[in-house]
């Protein structure tokens, strides 16, 4: 999952540093992720994983690092599996 996220981050993140230089737990906003780029990334994630982010998860924390994004996605995918 983290590799897919990294791929999307490369495509949509518009970060000033190479994505492979960013640790899984590094703060993406500190790395330069703008709010516009973060929304593009969210749309890319929704498309790639065939999910819709519920409003309760649409906050800075959910997308603050690669690990946080993976956790957010896992939360949605698990709920879907249960349903």
């Amino acid at each position: 999952m983290n590799e897919t996220i990294r791929g999307l981050l490369t495509k949509f993140g518009g970060l000033p540093v190479a994505v492979d230089q960013i640790a899984d737990d590094a703060d993406l906003y500190s790395a330069g992720l703008s709010s516009f780029a973060s929304v593009q990334l969210m749309l890319g994630l929704e498309d790639a994983f065939d999910v819709e982010f519920p409003d309760a998860l649409l906050n800075r924390k959910s997308f603050s690092s690669i690990n946080a994004i993976a956790a957010t996605l896992t939360l949605i995918l698990d709920k879907r599996d249960v349903a």
């Binding site: 000033p16 906003y29 500190s30 790395a31 330069g32 992720l33 703008s34 709010s35 516009f36 929304v39 969210m42 749309l43 929704e46 982010f53 409003d55 309760a56 649409l58 906050n59 800075r60 924390k61």
Partner: protein, 393 residues
Amino acid sequence: MNMSVSIPDAGLMARAARVATIAAKHADAVDAAGRFPREAVDAMIAERLLGIQIARSHGGEDADFSKIAELCSILGQACAASAMVFAMHHIKLSSLVQHGSESAWHTAFMRRVADEQLLLGSATTEGGIGGNLRNSICAIAVKDGVCHLEKDATVISYGDYADAILITSRSNPEAASSDQVMTVFLKEQYTLEKTHVWDTLGMRGTCSDGFLFKGTAPAEQIFPKPFAEIAAQSMLAASHLLWSGVWHGIAADAVSRAQAFVRAAARKSPGAMPPGALRLAELSNMLQTLRSNVVAGLKAYEDAKDDPDKLASMGFSVAMNGVKICSSEMILPIVNHAMLICGIMGYKNGTPFSLGRHLRDAHSAQLMISNDRILSNMSTMLLVHKLDTSLLG
């Protein structure tokens, strides 16, 4: 849905009313000269209104945004520039109150603000960045426990008159432009070299001149949280709600003047409905829409304030931005409508029905954080955020 929004007690209202009386007396002179509303701010200090937001345990009065917004409106009905100084001070104070309690320095400073009624200024805009306050060019440098910052601050409202300035910058010289911190600098810790003079259409008394800021202070005065969190969790809501309070005040006073004009006409010609009476009914509806918008915003904040995730959510951000857009757009037609009612007596300066200052002050609302920028941010968020379609929320 609990619709209660706290209303200031009679004592607080009376203190604000005394300040408003003084602010109203000097409003035209402040506007004409583009000077700082010294008398009104001194009255705020005398009535101890600058520390009310601070917790009682730190010397304040625990006033929430609803109470402060009401005070902004009361002052806005008297002198919009004085009210805006009061609002901007409390917007900065909200950062301190909500994000400063984890640091000993900021906690002690909060007590000083309450005890000494210090006026807090803000330096978020910067040459080359403009109003996009979530980015900085300048960077704070920390060495041996001392921080140093230079910023080409194109606007520091009442910069010459503030007792301390809360200023944003990149967190270090290598940081990305969005990796920001906010730092408190006390008056004796900085110099200001004036670069732009605030000679504007309206809001002239805020004296929002541009300055080259140079400050050196102990590094513990840097807020311990990233500015991104402060901006999302307190500044966004505080700015849009308290500004809206001021703008409601401008609109409400314009409506009062229009009503006084119609009532005077009615007394002059008993039995005949005066011209303008129908427009006054329309005007009262417009003011009600504006008020409902601000009250709904205050309510949304009250519901979210204890939940950091909710405050940081897109839904909340869209709601607060919507409050700002609506109130800033609504006040212009309200003042214009009032002018249609008062006619030449509203157009002329120096009559009891003059509305020129209101109209000029009201024009600032769409520009302070440009509505175009806000709409652009909202449109980005609406690509993923699904709007709440319920009536009561």
